[in-house]
Symmetry: C2
Subunit: 189 residues, 2 copies
């Protein structure tokens, strides 16, 4: 996402590091995914990015600022994929396929940390700035869906996507791609 970090040994001697702020935001997302928002501290992020603690207060006004920027990056990334897939679809059938692909390939891919999304929801419940991030993201998803479906359907299928993703992620017995396809097609065809 950003430029590679200087190696640990290099950092001990060299100091120049443009994009450090960017790397810190990415590091914050890693820490959130691994330890949760509760376990995300200045020190953990600094360790993950291999920068000294003092760097945190220089680049960010406080922990809130880091969290906001990190979650904004996360939401924007997912929303962009959402947009792209649905914009590429030309017909309603293609749009249905796009939704299925979104859930099975993008949202539930092993590399994608779904837990980040749930962490965002929880944090948003008590942080107005994060609530705004969440709502902007939801609005963007719905707008993308409305390229192909009427507003009511868009809203409903948006909720369905949410439920399918969440339940699949939380279950020891996750839904198969075929089951997800079945659920979405049942709703949209």
């Amino acid at each position: 996402m950003s430029e590679p970090a200087p190696t640990a040994t290099a950092r001990r001697t060299r100091r120049h590091d443009p994009h450090r702020r960017d790397r810190l935001i990415d590091a914050a997302l890693q820490v959130i995914a691994h330890r949760g928002v509760a376990g995300t501290t200045h020190r953990e992020i600094a360790r993950a990015a291999d920068v000294p603690l003092g760097s945190m207060t220089y680049h960010f006004a406080g922990l809130d600022e880091i969290l906001t920027e990190a979650f904004t990056r996360h939401a924007d990334g997912i929303a962009r994929v959402f947009d792209e897939r649905l914009t590429a679809a030309r017909t309603r059938d293609e749009a249905v396929e796009a939704v299925i692909t979104l859930v099975t390939d993008d949202l539930l891919s092993p590399g994608h940390d779904l837990v980040l999304t749930v962490e965002l929801y929880v944090a948003a419940a008590r942080n107005p700035r994060l609530k705004a991030v969440t709502q902007a993201w939801m609005q963007r998803s719905r707008d993308a869906l409305e390229r192909h479906f009427d507003p009511t359907t868009a809203r409903e299928v948006d909720a369905l996507i949410e439920g399918l993703t969440l339940h699949s992620a939380l279950s020891t017995d996750p839904m198969t791609p075929a089951q997800i396809r079945h659920a979405i097609e049942r709703y949209l065809r």
Copy 2:
């Protein structure tokens, strides 16, 4: 849920307090709802229940134990309502109505703190005991739904319920009961 607590002044003089453990678990749920799991500390719970700090270590082996018991109580409470509504339904149509009532009246009622459920999901991602609580709850919901619907439908509608509740709770423009009814009926009828 439990017996009323002795008043603050009474506590200062008297000490006998059976059901204190129960009250502490309820207090923990209140604190989780207000401050989140991250802001839930021994001291906050003790303050909410108006007991001294030392009482926490006596009644619970650690913070994990309190959280587990609190979330177990939360999940059991919702699952019980779920069971009851679906057991009371005699026909498929009544079952559909029961599901609608569950979402609009029970899960989304102003008194019910939906944020507790999301907090549980996040905590469960990193706590095996809480993961077990979540999965037992999901299984119980699905079993209840299977009294009236085939397993595939049960699973899908369970996910739909999740998405509808979550989106309604997070949105500034929450879905109306009519919209929720529309979404569920579209799926089940």
